[in-house]
Amino acid sequence: MSLRTPADRYRMIRLIRGFEELALELVASGDIVGGTHPYIGQEAVAVGVCSALRPEDRLTSTHRGHGHVLAKGADPARLLAELTGREGGLNRGRGGSMHAADLSLGILGANGIVGAGAPIAVGAAWAAQLAGEPRVVVSFFGDGALNQGVLLESFNLAAMWQVPVVFVCENNGYATTLPAAVAVAGSALGRAEAFGIPAVAVDGMDTEAVREAALAAVDRARSGGGPEFLECSTYRFEGHHTMERRIKLDYRPAEEIASWRERDPLARAAALVGDTTAIDAEVAEQLYQAREFALASPAPDPAGACDHLYASGLRPRAGAVA
């Protein structure tokens, strides 16, 4: 799915938003077990960045990964089937929300460990460089990841080796309940710059602004200019995890949420398109089909619980011996 025009990008934002709302519904109904980390509010980042990528480019994602995975082109039906733990899912139901991946599209996976995707992205970029392939790798992560040592080590390696990686920090102001203001000493931009990585602040609620910054970073990386860092200021409209719909936490003031909601990237993207009725209808249909597909896809056979444990085909001993 191309993201070349504002209408394409609006459509993708609409799709992600709708997908996430559908996911909320399926969490509530119990069809998605364990819950998800909703991406609602942050869509401009995934869509703006991925609009700057080519099919052969790669990305690493996070626990809050649906937006990245969809924007890079994954089939919403198969992503939803993954979330509902079905055989038709992207990962055959083995990964779920936090590990959704589509290697054929360069999506090296959502990740359950904060910061873990960054060195993987650097490694994939390093491999492209070694092969002389003009591929760029994007590493998405949150403000919380800025305090992970492995991420800072990755900055150093990327800068030292000048690999084609773009670090995209989605600063939504919080790591779960912890405000970035009391967790991140100095500034996000300053951290990247300290490693000699050019760093740019971007309005993460504005798809076009993100796209512009990403295009510049990706082009530079692709042409051998080395890594770049984008800090996208954004906000999650939902709780950290769907669990928060059941437990009351008061770490974010109501006015803060309200003021960010006024900057909804969906509305902003729609404004560039004009009449969105047709697109909205198409996306609604696509999501309806996704839902049908996901819920009709069979549950995995328990006999295959150890399938793919080893790429070599090694079958481990079972846990109980008859």
Binding site: G34, R86, R94, M98, I113, A175, T177, R317, G319
Partner: protein
């Protein structure tokens, strides 16, 4: 008399330790909000300087806790996910555990690590579902897996009071267990097993939440005239070999049920020691996860890899055949 939940028992243990000993302090992510349960209300009561919300820097703050311990404090760290222990393996086993011997007894590191929600939680998938207590038992870090609210209280108190590092695993599947209690709860010494149910035909050693599974099976087997002794080691390292020996001398038959990977797990250790020291009437059995298990997301698959009451029943019958 009160109806005490396991999580509340951990909460009470932390509160009592903080109240009684000014050198106790807590570190962890989202502990101010009490997100995981055990720290609920503690920051309000004891202040932000003793109940410290940390940035997402597990290695850093675990090292900080080691330093604070060397300076005379008794830090407790709450880890949101068992996999976070992988991130701090160096700090725990290579620093905290080794300081006493390496300094010739000059230093001690009274550090407690609490992992509420260890093992599988529905829908959390491969990177959030490990039960890595065997790693610590191998490296020699004191390792505790309470099965009941009173044990959770008493063992956590002892862990905090202990002069050495201790890791306390609170299995997700045990957090919902409740118990009637009256009056103040006692500390329970580390290294003492608990016979939950005496029996004469087979010794079933059950770890953590599987104690309850074992008790259910034991009750059921009574009806078939089979007398099962259910032994909960409670502390996996140091292990209470005397209690195991006493039980095996009575029964001569051994089954272990343990929700961790098979190879080199605590089940292996128990069978090995039993084989070395006792002449068993029948070959022993263990019920575990498979070798090298990675829990898949889909519930059917996840469950297929965890030890079950059925497997236990089967194993008990098998050892009784001899």
């Amino acid at each position: 008399m009160s109806w005490l939940s396991y999580t509340k028992a951990l909460n009470r243990a932390l509160a009592d330790a903080l109240a009684e000993d000014p050198s106790v302090c807590l570190f962890g992510e989202d502990i101010g909000a009490g997100l995981a349960g055990p720290t609920l209300g503690l920051q309000k009561r004891f202040g932000t300087s003793r109940v410290v919300d940390t940035p997402l820097s597990e290695q850093g703050f675990t090292g900080v806790a080691v330093g604070a311990a060397l300076a005379g404090l008794r830090p407790v760290i709450e880890f949101q996910i068992p996999a976070l222990l992988f991130l701090v393996f160096e700090q725990l086993v290579n620093q905290a555990h080794k300081f006493s011997l390496m300094t010739g007894g000059q230093a001690s590191v009274p550090l407690t690590c609490l992992v509420p929600g260890s093992g599988s939680r529905d829908g959390w998938a491969g990177q959030h579902s490990d039960h890595p207590y065997g790693l610590f038992a191998h490296m020699g870090v004191k390792t505790v897996v309470p099965a009941t609210p009173t044990d959770a209280y008493g063992l956590l108190r002892s862990a905090i009071a202990d002069p050495d590092p201790v890791v306390v695993f609170a299995p997700a599947a045990a957090l919902g267990v409740r118990e009637d209690v009256t009056g103040p709860l006692p500390a329970i010494p580390l290294g003492q097993a608990r016979i939950h149910r005496p029996g004469t035909d087979v010794t079933v050693v059950a770890v953590g939440h599987l104690v309850h599974e074992a008790l259910a099976v034991a009750r059921e087997l009574t009806e078939q005239g089979i007398s099962v002794e259910v032994l909960d080691p409670r502390t996996l390292y140091p292990f209470d070999w005397d209690s195991l020996g006493a039980s095996l001398e009575k029964t001569g038959r051994l089954v272990v049920i343990d929700d961790s990977n098979r190879s080199c797990g605590i089940g292996a250790e128990i069978l090995a020691t039993a084989a070395e020291q006792y002449r068993l009437t029948a070959p022993p059995r263990r019920i575990t996860r498979p070798d090298g298990a990675v829990l898949p997301f889909a519930r059917e698959l996840d469950r297929a890899l965890q030890p079950s009451g059925d497997q236990l029943r089967h194993a008990v019958h098998a050892v009784l055949k001899h």
